[in-house]
Structures are given as C-alpha cells and as structure tokens.
Subunit: 441 residues, 2 copies
C-alpha cells in the first residue's frame, strides 16, 4: 500500500471525537484524502509514498478553519485604529471602501489574505464581501478551501450600485461561483438585521436554501444594535431573526456578543451556528460573547478573526490564545474554554459551523487532507508536555512549516507555493499609497 | 564621524517624548551607546561605520522591556493549564518546584527564557525567583540587560531552606551579583504581602533602599487575596503596604488587578510603579487591572508577561496586542490604551518602572544601544500605514530580525548569537522528562 504523500515523524493531533493524539504518528495521503493515520509502530518500516515529508518532531494537525473574514480588507490593515466606532467607520473605512474598492483591488487584497492565512496554518475560510467573484478567483489561485458569500445589503455597494439588484447579484454568484474551484462553496452573506429589510432577509435565506448554501449574517455585535432593535422591533436582534424564521441549520450568526439567556435558547432550538470573533469584539470595544454559555447550550461555535481592519491580522493561533484567556477572565473560572475546546472551535466545530464538518476540520480516514504541520524547535515551544496546550497558549502563525489543502502541498518548509508573495506585496503597497499617499514600503 | 555599527534603511520609531518617527531613518552606535539617529537625508551619503546593518525597510525600535518574569519557570511551560488556581498551584506547580528546582535546572530554564526573549525582541527583563545567582549567570551569558531580584518569602524556598535566612540570602545576592555583568542590576523580590510578615516586608524594603535597588512585590493579584487582607488587616493589600511605608519610588507593584480608587490614589501619591501582566491575569482568571485609571492618575505602568507557567510565553508583542484590546473591551471605549500608549508601556515606561529609564527604553542620543529591528515583509505586516499600529496589532515575536543590547549584536538575521539554542533545547527537554516522563521531544 503506497501513498501519494506521507507526513511522518511528528505528534499527530487528530481532533477526532476522542481527541486522539499519536506521538509519534503519521498521516498517509492518497487522491487528496487521508488514506491512513495512526501511531508509528516502533521498529516498523516507514510506509511507502511518492513524497515523504519529515515533520521533524513537530505537530501534525488539521488545517485551521477561520469562520469569519472579509478578505479584501487586508487593504485597510492598520489604516485607522483606536477610534470611536462611528468615527472609524464613517471617517475612515466607509470612505476608503467607496473610493478604493474595485474588482482589481479586491483581488489583490484577497490574495494577500490567502497568503497570510496559508502561511499561518489556516486551510479554510468563510468570507463575506462584495465583488465576491474576484475573491473567488484569488482563493482559487491560492488553492485554499473556502465558503464565499456575496454580500447583500440594502445600500449601494461595490459592484451592486442599486440595492434592488442585491438578491439577483447573489443569485448570479451562487449559480456561477462553484466552477472556479471544487474547493469553493458559494454562500450568501447578508450584512445584518439593521442594514437589510425583513423582505431582503427572508429572500436571502430562501436563496441560500434553494442552493443548499450557508446563510451568514452579522448579529448582536454591539449594544447599540440591540438597543435599536428593541426600539424598532420590540425585541433583540436574535429574537427578530427568529421571528423571521432565520435561526435554522445552515445559518451562521457572526458575533452574538449581546445574546441573553432567551436568545441563546432560541439559537440552540433553531439549530443555527455561531462564529466567535474575540479580538475584533475587543478591539472595537463591542463586548465579550458568552461562549461558555453557548457551548453549554449545545450550540456549534467556530472561531473567526473578522476582517483585517478590526483585528488586525488573520492568525488563528493568536485568536485561539485570546479566546481561551478571555473567557477565563470574563467568567472568573480558569477552567473555562480549555485548550481542547478552543482547538475544536478553530478546527472541527468551525468546519461544522460553515457546513464542511464531513469534509474537513479533523484528521480522520476519508476526510480531505487539509493538514498543518508546526515546527516545535523554537525556544517558545520548549519543552512540550501537552501539544494541545502549546497550540493554544504559545504557538504562533510563524511556527507553521507545512500546509496541505486537499492533499496539495501549498506551504513547503515555510514558503508559499501557490502565490507570489513578492508580487502581492508590491501590488498591495501600490494600492495602499493611493489610499494614503505617505504609506511606507 | 564614524560609528561602530550603523542600522539604516528602516522606519525608526524612537519612543522619545515626542514619539518621533523617522521614515526612513538610521541609528549610529558608538561605544555601546546611541551616538546619532535621525531621518535619512535624500541623496546624502550613508554615514561611515565599521558594520552596516540594512533594516531592509523594516522597523527600528527600542528593545522591549519585560517588567515581570520568573525566568526558570520556562521549565513548567504548559505543564498544567485550565485548572482551578489552588489545584494548579498545589497539585502541579509547587510540587514541581520542590522536586525539580536546583541550581542546574534554574540555569537551563533561565537560558531558555533569555533565548526566547532575545529572539522576540526583548532586551531587558525584570525577574524574581530563587537561586537568582544562577539566573544571573544565565542572563550574563545571554548578553541581556536585567534587573534581577532574589526571592524573599517566609517559607522554605529553593536555596533558602530556613526562611530566617531569607534577608541574609537577599543581601548576599545584592552584594555580589553586579560583578556578573555591568548590564545586571540586582534587586529584591519580596513575594507578596500574604506570604511575608510585616517585619520581613519592612526589612526587605530597607535592604533594597540600602543598595539603591528595586523592591518588587506581587500585590492585589486576586480577589481572594484582597478579601483575606481585609479580614486579616482590615484594609486592602495596597492600603496595607502603604501603612508599612512601602509605596515609595523604587517599589514595583506587580499585578494590582484589584485596586480601587483609593488604592490608585495611594499608589500615585507614594510614587510606586506598576507591572501590568494582562495575559497571566486572564489565564488564571484573576481579573483585569484598571490600567486606564492607573494612567489617568499618573502612575508609571510597564508591561510584563509573568512566568511561563501562567502565560505561556514571553512574547511582548503578543502581550501588547492583548493589553490594547483588553482595556478597550473592559471599558467599552475603543480609544482606551491606544497603540502609542501600549508601546510606551512595553518600552520607556517599563524601563522607568524598573529604574532604567535613563539608560534604556527609547532611542535617544546617549542612551544605551538597546535596539530591536523587525522585518516587515511577511504578508501579515503588509501594507504599513502606521508603524505603531503594526507593532501592537499585528507584529509577532518571529518578525524580529536583529537585536542589539548595549551595542552588542545578539540576534543577527533572526539567529541568536550568544547562546546555543540546540544545547538549551536538549538540556531542558531532559529536565522536562524528569518532571513528566512521557514528555515529547
């Protein structure tokens, strides 16, 4: 029995239902899938393979799943920070989007994001933006797996100047996107309950259902949003969406910072999943989502970085560390959001939340070979008592050495194989100089 | 005019009182000090220097200052996480310290810590532990700058089996440590108001004053500590220390999570400084220190990582990001702890807090050449609108390419020059296998 690729001589962290760890172990890849994995038997011959990748004692784990991104917003990374939310949006982000978002800039921003994600061990993302067909082209070039949602909002938006066309534009995307790459699942990204009418929300969910696609929506992000929802609709944003019949399986609620007990019960009963974005919620001072309560209610919770304008990076290792620590200090309970729980959120639960639980998110026989290998020889990873602890509390995106998506070797010895990072840097820097002329190299 | 070393072709972030940034700029080093710095004049010839380091468009900044560490605790990195505080301490950390802390293990743990700190851009640390002379030997070998405090506690401790000898042991350390390295300032590390008697606390502060040394003490870390202080002494830990006359300049209060308005007024009036350790306070679920209130009261606040058992790394870039975001979400104010404020905490304010404000912590003429250079070509640092934003919100320890301490080039092109990382890894792994026999490589 031979494999296309064998990844061996590492600690295999499967994130299967038993959270099995093989130390040392191996993973065999054939026809883009995991064809074998397990502990390395002492004295046994190494399995035959066309290509052998030596993990050199590092950690072999499922590729990370980022459940909420706005990829082109890498263009605005660090453009404006430390500002009141309204000023940040209306004086900086919205004007920059109006003036500088075009098919070309969206493509370069998305390419930069894919390069950053792959180099930091993320193999799948769930994105929502406008001109999403350009995002799809970039993602396809990168070789990543992705769920991509064309934006729907009841305002003029890039590529959709008349909001009356927003559902039609989303339908076109759903109909034509999948041909880009077998690794891309088209989706619907409805901006929020406060920027879309009830009619738009219902039509968008019906469209998603028609295509069997994910329905993503920002919800209950800020206290102001909740106050306004109560003033306008008499109920919380979650209760409002529930009343429209939108909390069903296939819905991904992004943020849910301001969800009370009744909201949580509604989400659990309906079967919607949640994307938790702790660093974005902290940086924008939105609040802290009640994640331990979500988990206790049985809700599927994935981890996300949000866009680069409000984070300012796409490093899920950093996000795992933040999630694990933030919920401990919020609850006063140092056992909250333990390492295993957070790793599951960043892998298998994230995959489940975006409809890819049967495909990716864990190292199990027959699943796609979406694999990240970390080097563990840097001082900050010495010694290793528990590999799961290291992934959450000390590993960084830079520790990633090898990345496979559907068996394709996209990062080899820390270098990206599918995109030209130098070209992307030059193009994005040129765009950034138009956004802010004094921008450095 | 020639220099020993010229660092050029980068963005110079001085962290001087005006927070001047020269883009591009240069720094000239002579006789271990900063002999010149400024913007690079267009068309001007490059200054003459024996060694020229091309920053390649990266960021040239003051070396970071970690105001609270327990360096040997790298040995326990990830040994036990996600546990209730008492169980973590009494079932894991204290037994491991009793059984495995010796002069030899302290030395290797401290070497590992120095390697990690230098490679992630930290040039100065303020440490407190036992067998601190072994820590001093390791720090001297590494070439770092440090304030090192021999531990004082009214219990048996490594190297001080009879607590009656704790002041004498600290005196010996103060008397003999400085000869190790001109870059080491000996200090006193009194464990806490709840593990030292009033007599010990007063004697320790008097000893520090006699030597002109820093007096470090953990204070007001947990709610339980505050409750017990009120029950035992009738006042908060800060008020108790104030009553003993310990809140004077030269005192560094570590944590201060549970400081109320009156405590803050006492600290400000007394002139003590604070070491803020946000990740440790989050991971142990201790709480969130009121840092914006400290700053508003005019208190000098530095940043610290705490020991590796409660963080689990020594990366101050990561700590800056956490500090900036945590205080935004705690206060509900996205302008709290802006990037500049946090960078100052991690550099000049930290240096001031540990008594080195005239020596290090900023790039200014005549100061020691303690310099960190970051590469900015990785995707997560593209584009650069504001270098200060990047240092806080997206840079990572791994972006550090060059580090100088007192003009000595300790990290060159990302490689540590002063210690053998491979040897340290082997020795620490061997120690870790004794602590937990199933430990990986």
């Amino acid at each position: 029995m031979t494999y296309d690729t064998l990844v061996h001589n590492g600690i295999v962290l499967t994130v299967n239902p038993d959270f099995d760890i093989f130390s040392p172990g191996f993973v065999g890849i054939r026809n883009s899938r995991i064809a074998a994995l397990g502990p390395a038997a002492v004295g046994a011959a190494r399995p035959q393979a066309a290509v052998c990748i030596d993990a050199r004692g590092g950690i072999i784990m499922p590729g990370l799943v980022n459940t909420h991104t706005h990829l082109p917003m890498t263009l605005f990374r660090g453009l404006a920070d430390d500002l009141p939310l309204e000023k940040w949006l209306h004086d900086h982000i919205f004007p920059a989007e109006r003036q500088h978002i075009s098919p070309a800039t969206v493509g370069w921003g998305a390419r930069l994001a894919c390069a950053e994600m792959l180099l930091s061990g993320t193999t799948t993302c769930c994105d929502g933006y406008f001109l999403e067909n350009q995002v799809a082209a970039a993602v396809a070039d990168s070789g990543m797996r992705a769920v991509l949602g064309q934006g729907i909002i009841d305002f003029a938006a890039p590529g959709v100047p008349d909001p009356k066309d927003n559902i039609t534009a989303a339908r076109d995307f759903l109909a034509h996107c999948r041909s880009r790459s077998p690794l891309i699942s088209p989706a619907v990204f409805c901006h929020s309950p406060y920027t879309c009418s009830a009619e738009t929300l219902r039509a968008a969910k019906a469209l998603a259902a028609e295509f069997g696609a994910l329905f993503q929506i920002h919800a209950a992000e800020t206290r102001q949003e909740c106050d306004e929802s109560r003033a306008r609709h008499g109920v919380s944003p979650i209760a409002y969406l529930d009343g429209l019949g939108l909390l069903t399986p296939g819905t991904l609620l992004v943020h849910c910072v301001w969800a009370d007990e009744r909201d949580i019960a509604r989400i659990a009963a309906g079967g919607a999943a949640i994307s938790h974005n702790p660093q974005s919620n902290m940086k924008l001072a939105s609040g802290i989502a009640p994640v331990p309560e979500f988990l206790a209610a049985g809700i599927t919770v994935g981890l996300g970085t949000d866009g680069c304008a409000s984070n300012n990076d796409l490093d899920l290792f950093h996000e795992m560390d933040t999630a694990a620590k933030l919920h401990k200090v919020r609850s006063g309970d140092p056992t909250a959001c333990a390492a295993r729980t957070v790793i599951e959120m960043a892998t298998i639960r994230g995959a489940e939340a975006i409809g890819l639980g049967a495909v990716s998110g864990s190292l199990e026989l027959g699943k796609a070979a979406d694999i990240t290998v970390l080097a563990t020889d840097a001082p900050h990873l010495v010694p290793i008592y528990h590999p799961a602890s290291h992934l959450v509390y000390t590993a960084r995106g830079d520790d990633v050495r090898e990345v496979f998506v559907a068996g394709r070797h996209l990062v080899a010895n820390g270098r990206l194989q599918s995109l030209d990072v130098g070209e992307i840097r030059r193009e994005v820097t040129a765009i950034a100089r138009k956004i802010r002329p004094s921008t450095g190299s």
